[in-house]
Symmetry: C2
Subunit: 398 residues, 2 copies
């Protein structure tokens, strides 16, 4: 008997390039191999005790549905948090989401109909592909270059990509996977293009506090774009609370916020206990972020130094987030990343990286690039990078 | 300056008919009015201590990303839970989702492409409309009748709705909003139709334990349909843990499960702490459900008796879930529901109901119907129903 086929869009849904090698990693672990996970942006920093203590003190007798917009406590904590970042928003401008993931998909649905286009700069956060597939939106990629630190191209290059079906430009700064922090001029250029062409700007700023040089510019602080700007955010990285699934979508556009709330109502609410935990974490004084940023700066420096020691590696030192997108001297990064898990180890240890192609929408790009997430302590990072160096050497002399 | 417009689909996204009156309820509360919330399926039963104790004992130092498929602990707890319900599934057949909501939207995306059709029986759980809108899937409604207890029509009536674009039939038993429990024969008929026409069956069974007469039949226990059946589930109702946002999608179809995992990978994981809590709750012995069902049975009987005392009300006594869909003797239920919040109170109290039209896809249906969620204790329910009775009388004699 013929079974029904799943939909084309489900069939075309891409596997996570960050996660698809996990089964190979599991097998390596079963063989007793220790793996340094530089493939996923999962920080090793403990979640602040304020978060976990709040969770332990959650006293509701009934774990009831929350407000679809977000809990009152979390909304007001977010307003205060943004104020400390010089971002002036009110509760009405915020829709709490189930992770930054949901903020991205809500934003895509809000700005684009099926088949319409959103311009992205590649390499980009790989899951944008998945969300676009779910929302049936086309991502129009504009390829950035490692040689100029993955900064934005001239505005003409961007405007060339705009068609009658373009609805938005999606930016991410500090950037995942490149670590690039866009300058105020770059953010203003994007805003200006969007004003001229009547586009929305979606601005993913989940790495706001992870800045090692320069200054972060939020889309919310660019003049004259307020009805077109949608900020996408998450507590995951800044509080090392990736499992909490608490994020938000922020906009001054009443139309966008009304639509976001209707989308929020369909899925009822974000997780209540973790909203409670996030509310507490958001009140943490800023020295927490200063300590965290200085720790990550040391990690970045370590990884960068170690990468520079590997013959044939090309990358610039990134200014933010906790990723480096590096060109490695291998022909087929997917094969190399797999091989590191299946065939290679050094003293019983190996290093897992995220292959470049998953961060591109253009086929054939990123074939010799990898994203390295520096989310381990400096000693482990040194070890992991030396294993990577030895791996490259061994792989190329097979 | 012209601002960009939001997308048509975001614009068309329906507000939750259950939640859209909330602002009026908030205003009533500010005026000091106590509101009996029969509008939303939010049980008053305490969340089991097993759930909350597990949450308090969650000891991970880093609240890290979990497995996209669901935590190992939760997957194995789900397998055992289903075994106790005589549903034989393995971990590979389960995708943990962020609430039953996500299970529904994942299923819709998995079975239907943009513009394709899913047959639903109306009245239905109102948020199916929202999910269909998000997924750009068309719901083809087949209207059921209060007079025969909202049971399914003859198979010819169902088959008449099938077109070349139909991809699935979506059923919910015990039903929200009608409380109807489909018989084994009804479930077999649906399965048989889906086999004949190569359709998927999506079976929403979140109220499985809420049965007061008859027996629940899971789609997973219908022979010969295993590659076409997708079970949608949630811990929200059975553990009074609606705020946890933990559900699952279950299928024996490898193709469906692979696609569901890819969808799951895009949003990374479901909330970790609440997966942990749900895992503990799923181990609760079955007498918990027996006590709960007998409490809800008393509530159902109370609401039904009180409804029968109101002249002009039409409804049959439902066998499951915790809702009654009743025809009330008012011309415009939307207006009446609003009026109950804005203009009416009895001794400082009023009753909030969910207007019928939101549970239909066909315009003009349900204009004199309301969904009543019997989620309060018997005394409060009696009060709430007497207020409703007095409200109807007053409204009609204005």
């Amino acid at each position: 008997m013929r079974s029904p086929q799943i939909s084309q869009r489900a069939n075309d849904m891409p596997p996570s390039p960050i996660r698809k090698l996990v089964p190979l990693a599991e097998e390596a672990k079963k063989r007793g191999i220790k793996i340094f996970h530089l493939n996923i942006g999962q920080p090793d920093i403990p979640t602040p005790p304020e978060f976990m203590n709040a969770v332990r003190n959650y006293q509701e007798e009934v774990l009831a549905y929350g407000n679809s917009k977000g809990s009152q406590k979390l909304l007001s904590a977010l307003v205060r948090y943004y104020q400390r970042r010089n971002i002036q928003v009110e509760e009405k401008d915020i829709q709490v989401t189930t992770g930054g993931s949901e903020a991205i998909i809500f934003a895509m649905i809000c700005v684009a109909d099926v088949g319409e286009e959103i311009i992205v700069f590649e390499p980009f956060y790989t899951n944008y592909n998945g969300f676009a597939q779910m929302a049936d939106v086309k991502l129009t990629p504009l390829t950035l270059k490692a040689e100029n630190g993955f900064h934005l191209p001239f505005r003409e290059k961007i405007e060339e990509k705009i068609t009658s079906r373009t609805r938005a430009i999606l930016v991410c700064s500090p950037n995942n996977p490149t670590g690039t922090v866009y300058t105020r001029e770059e953010m203003e250029m994007i805003a200006d293009i969007c004003k001229k062409h009547h586009l929305f700007v979606l601005s993913d700023e989940v790495y706001r506090e992870f800045i090692y040089e320069g200054k972060h510019t939020s889309i919310m602080n660019i003049q004259g774009i307020s009805n077109q700007a949608i900020l996408l955010d998450s507590v995951s990285k800044r509080f090392s609370a990736c499992g909490a699934r608490i994020g938000c979508l922020v906009s001054k556009s009443q139309e966008v916020m009304d639509a976001a709330l209707r989308l929020g109502q369909a899925r009822l609410c974000s997780p209540s206990i973790e909203q409670f935990g996030a509310s507490a974490a958001l009140e943490i004084p800023d020295d927490y972020f200063e300590r965290m940023a200085s720790e990550y700066k040391r990690r970045r420096d370590t990884v960068y130094e170690e990468l520079m020691k590997i013959p044939g590696v090309i990358c610039l030192k990134p200014s933010g987030a906790f990723y480096i997108m590096a060109k490695l001297p291998v022909n087929d990064i997917e094969d190399f990343a797999r091989w590191m898990l299946t065939d290679f180890s050094l003293d019983g240890e190996t290093t897992m990286i995220a292959p470049g192609p998953g961060f591109y929408a253009t086929p054939g790009k990123g074939l010799d690039e990898a994203r390295i997430a520096y989310v381990l302590n400096v000693n482990d990072l040194k070890k992991a990078m030396r294993i990577l160096a030895k791996g490259i050497e061994t792989y190329n002399s097979r």
